[in-house]
């Protein structure tokens, strides 16, 4: 995460100067921009890619073991019609089931261990070295490890809140569907159920936004998890619409490339050669774009908690 000097102002406010950590200095609020940290974004992409390869590589090994007899390797698996794929999924179901268990483990580990690179990304976004350079990879990771404890407290709190909200949503929405099924009919009742559930999903997203704001506070101000969550919640309470929308439009925008590439992937085929390379490049561009949008939101979260702190007496 090291790189060229960044021409950004550093904070000179006395109060914030007090929060300087060693050789790192806080960037001023307007200077916190994700676009100035492509290497940090690339680092986040690399982290996700390495984790994904922990599953992708064994999957490819299984496919290779089954289809190495074909001059084109596993190309038949992905031919239109899906006969070979369906046959493989059934024939090697035990191995694939084990693989799916491995994938689940990677997801859980990724969700917890991923707190470190996220914190590192936040450090890269929020700080600079005294010689106005972005903090290096080692330094960011060290700060990321330091933030792990408050971050996991935050994760536990947010996950609990979100799970409770979802459970309540399922209960209420299911009750609404049950109560209206008779006179509205199945489709209308289920649509109403979805609407009610969407309200709860919105609430879940608010918790998620507060969670990210809390993470920003943890990294920006070095506070604990509970204090960070309180700051995040306060930021959201002060600017609920603008803050939530800042997250929401990026979340929605990150769906667009996934759907767009899915729509054309079938036509590209990706059975091998140039088409496969092209498909791979497109897929990684999608992943990279989503990481960039996420980084952009985290930068916004950092700016948000900065503003809140200034309002706190």
């Amino acid at each position: 995460m090291s790189g060229a000097a960044v021409d950004v102002p550093l904070v000179d406010d006395a109060a914030e100067s007090a929060r300087r950590q060693d050789d790192l200095v806080l960037l001023t609020t307007p200077a916190i921009r994700a676009r100035r940290h492509p290497r940090a974004i690339a680092g986040m992409w690399a982290w996700q890619t390495v984790l994904a390869l922990l599953v992708g590589w064994p999957a490819a090994g299984l496919a290779h073991a089954a289809w190495s007899g074909d001059a084109h390797g596993d190309a038949p698996l992905w031919a239109p019609g899906g006969h070979a794929l369906a046959d493989w999924l059934w024939r090697d179901q035990h191995a694939l089931t084990e693989l799916s268990h491995g994938a689940a483990l990677v997801l859980v580990v990724g969700a917890v261990a991923g707190l470190v690179p996220v914190a590192a990304l936040l450090v890269a976004l929020a700080y600079a070295t005294r010689d106005r350079l972005p903090p290096g990879f080692t330094r960011c990771m060290a700060e990321g490890f330091r933030a792990f404890r408050p971050m996991i407290v935050l994760l536990a709190m947010a996950t609990l809140l979100q799970a409770l909200t979802l459970a309540a949503g399922a209960l209420v929405a299911g009750g609404v569907e049950h109560a209206t099924h008779g006179w509205l009919g199945e489709a209308r009742a289920q649509q109403l159920e979805a609407l009610v559930f969407l309200v709860f999903l919105a609430a879940v997203s608010f918790v998620g936004v507060a969670h990210d704001l809390g993470r920003a506070a943890v990294v920006r101000f070095g506070v604990g998890g509970i204090r960070g969550f309180a700051l995040g919640a306060r930021t959201l309470r002060l600017y609920p619409v603008s803050t939530w929308w800042s997250w929401a439009w990026r979340a929605l925008a990150s769906l667009a490339p996934v759907l767009a590439v899915a729509a054309v992937a079938g036509r590209i085929g990706g059975e091998g050669g140039v088409a496969l390379v092209f498909l791979g490049v497109m897929h990684q561009a999608v992943v990279g774009a989503r990481v960039a949008l996420r980084a952009s939101w985290l930068a916004r979260a950092l700016r948000g908690v900065d503003g809140t702190l200034r309002r706190v007496p």
């Binding site: 289809w67 001059a71 084109h72 649509q191 897929h283």
Partner: protein, 692 residues
């Protein structure tokens, strides 16, 4: 009949997309199409004049062999009219009861006097857990005991014939066998024998209590789907034996053709869908009374609900009425689009659809047990209103149930004895139709993944192939899962293999010839085999017989592919005017010795292509007739062999193991790069979804 329709998970990307689509439709869709006085819907079907045509006798039905039945010219206009039902049924939608009465006119078409009648009372399958239906714990659809039981009580059955006085024969009816509580197959002794060719009339009065929706019939709230609801005479075979049987869990039905003239009486606010076109209707005293009449059919089913919404369209000359719940308009449009393709396609290949009407009933998901079912001129479909466009389950269910109009409806096979003749052939017709209409992604076309209907059946059909034969009675299958895999999937995959190996035209011609030639004729498996032998030859007939009756299976495998640099041939050669001596073992300049060994394991045999890929990028195609256990291809050439694939076009989709269909020479195996690319990408997206 189909397994229950696909239900989507409530969460996940697919679900979210579906929810989004559903929300789009929230305000705009589901506009009621009923147009009548407030609270009084117009009939679901438009009245159609009744064509009174005298039914021909059995001798008039041609059973000619050969190409005469490759088109519709020789199609019989009507079935032999054996049994006519003239019934009146009144629905109490609160008590969920039907009071029925009317007349059954039955003719003895056998060569033997009939001294008894066998009457099917299939609604009694849901009377208690001692019925044959619930005793057969084979799993599958309809296994759970209904929350509310159903039954049929026959009050009287008065025999009127000749000059004799009317006699109520029901008091002497034997509802069940000693020690058996099943009451679905009643024996009714007759006071005198009914002579061959003689017609008797039976005046019947009966009361139904409908179960909560279970296995094709019942109610859910005010929704009513009424099937297997009247006392139905079993079929008397020409030799004088009765084809009677209780309602088995996995079995469907078998009956004679006749004319059903049924008057239905429901509350005025209810909309009716029924077998046959509407010929008369009126609304009076708060009741809607509709008369539906259909000749040349062997069953009658109907539905009544005050929430039905109606779509109508004439497709290929057939008046199609689609009944769907509010909010299902988008799905109903998809089903109509399916019929726009399927009705003309099936008529062209399997003989003209002979009826004036077709009613499609799409029940709600909470009544899904009544979905995915076929009756003459009435089918039920299914599926959630939020099914995404790329998930083609509604289209598949629609085309499948419509196809049953041919494969069971118009041929009238015994669905208990030979279920593959209806479900299996129909499943193939479904696969073929869906593939012709939607291409390789005929089951799923979503997020860059395309999966064909035939592919899923091919894999499923291979699972149970060694367990039991395809061609056996429905009640003989050991599990519902095997019934589904073998009767539906395996039969279809065998037929699809024939189509891919021997060509689209001859296989569809053979099936069309069978369907036309045995229209209204109650064919048996031998009839199918003979027709396939006629069109495709004795080898195909034998293959089909083995596949259906003898658990036939096949696995083509490339045992090995070898290529080695050949030593120069030794000896003395006179070439270009000079004599050259080559010592044994001299290497180089000798080209390559290439060899491939292909095996066929199993009892089925199909001709297959064997493709060899050479080092210079060229390919060498060999055709193996599939006879024998193995075939070696050896040749000497200038180029080394890289790989060999048997059946590269995936024609033999019943192949038991696709993974051994290819081999490479040492060191030339392909990579798993495509799987690596996709699995990594999907995992990255999953990580982004759950990771911070």
């Amino acid at each position: 009949m189909m397994p229950p329709p696909v239900r989507l998970p409530p969460v996940g990307l697919v679900g979210l997309v579906a929810v989004a689509l559903g929300l789009v439709s929230l305000g705009a869709l589901g506009v009621p199409t009923r147009a009548a006085a407030p609270g009084v819907p117009a009939p679901a079907t438009a009245p159609t004049p009744v064509e009174e045509v005298p039914a021909p006798g059995p001798e008039a039905v041609a059973r000619a062999v050969g190409p005469a039945f490759d088109d519709d010219a020789a199609l019989p206009a009507h079935a032999d009219d054996v049994v006519d039902y003239t019934l009146r049924a009144s629905l109490d939608p609160v008590a969920h009861t039907v009071h029925g009465e009317g007349t059954i006119a039955w003719r003895n078409t056998s060569t033997q006097p009939a001294r008894e009648l066998w009457v099917h009372l299939y609604l009694n399958a849901f009377k208690n857990q001692r019925s044959a239906f619930f005793r057969e714990s084979v799993g599958g659809r309809g296994s759970a005991a209904p929350e509310d039981w159903g039954w049929i009580d026959v009050r009287s059955m008065v025999l009127r014939s000749g000059d004799g006085a009317p006699v109520d024969v029901w008091p002497s009816a034997e509802l069940h066998r000693p020690g058996d509580d099943d009451e679905t197959d009643a024996r009714v002794p007759l006071p005198r024998a009914v002579a061959p060719g003689e017609t008797v009339q039976l005046d019947v009065v009966f009361d139904d209590k409908l179960p909560i929706v279970v296995e094709r019939t019942g109610y859910r709230g005010r929704y009513h789907m009424v099937g297997q609801w009247f006392p139905k005479i079993a079929r008397l075979e020409p030799d004088g034996t009765w084809a009677h049987f209780p309602f088995h869990h996995l079995a469907e039905f078998y009956a004679d053709y006749g004319t059903y003239d049924v008057t239905l009486d429901v509350p005025a606010a209810y909309t009716i869908g029924a077998t046959g076109p509407l010929v008369d209707w009126r609304v009076a005293d708060g009741r809607r009374v509709e008369r539906h009449r259909q000749a040349d059919v062997h069953d009658f089913a109907w539905t009544a609900w005050d929430a039905w919404q109606t779509m109508r369209e004439t497709i290929d000359g057939v008046d199609v009425t689609l009944l769907h719940p509010p909010g299902f308009t988008r799905l109903a449009r998809r089903e109509l689009a399916t019929l726009r393709f399927a009705l003309p396609y099936y008529s062209a290949h399997y003989g003209r659809y002979p009826y004036a009407a077709l009613t499609v009933v799409h029940p709600q998901e909470d009544a899904g047990e009544s979905g995915g079912m076929e009756y003459p001129t009435l089918i039920t479909t299914g599926g959630s209103w939020m099914t995404p466009p790329g998930v083609l389950a509604p289209e598949i269910v629609t085309i499948h149930e419509m196809g049953h109009q041919w494969f069971y409806g118009l041929v009238g096979t015994n669905e208990l004895a030979w279920p593959f003749l209806d479900e299996g052939l129909n499943q193939f017709a479904e696969q073929d139709g869906m593939a012709k209409w939607r291409g390789p992604g005929s089951a799923l076309e979503l997020l860059g993944l395309s999966v064909g209907d035939a592919a899923l059946d091919a894999v499923d059909g291979n699972v149970g192939v060694h367990d039991e034969p395809v061609a056996q009675a429905a009640s003989a299958f050991t599990t519902g899962a095997n019934y589904g895999r073998l009767v539906y999937a395996r039969t279809a995959s065998v037929m699809e293999t024939l189509r891919r190996v021997y060509g689209d035209e001859p296989v569809l011609r053979a099936l069309g010839r069978y369907a036309r030639r045995y229209r209204f004729q109650h064919p048996v498996p031998e009839d199918l085999l003979v027709v396939f032998g006629e069109v495709l030859g004795p080898k195909v007939e034998a293959t089909l017989r083995t596949a259906l009756f003898e658990k036939g299976w096949v696995d083509y495998a490339v045992e090995g592919a070898w290529s080695r640099k050949a030593p120069r041939a030794a000896g003395v050669f006179d070439r270009k005017g000079t004599r050259e001596r080559v010592e044994p073992g001299t290497r180089g300049e000798g080209g390559w010795d290439n060899s491939v060994l292909v095996r066929r394991r199993g009892t089925l045999s199909f001709p297959v292509d064997v493709v060899m890929t050479m080092a210079d990028g060229t390919t060498r195609l060999e055709r193996w007739d599939g006879d024998g256990d193995a075939k070696r291809f050896s040749w000497h050439g200038p180029t080394a062999l890289l790989a060999c694939t048997v059946d590269p076009e995936d024609r033999v989709i019943v192949d038991g193991n696709l993974e051994n269909n290819r081999a490479t020479t040492e060191g030339h195996g392909g990579s798993g790069s495509r799987t690596l690319e996709r699995a990594t990408y999907w995992m990255q997206l999953a990580l982004q979804a759950v990771s911070p």
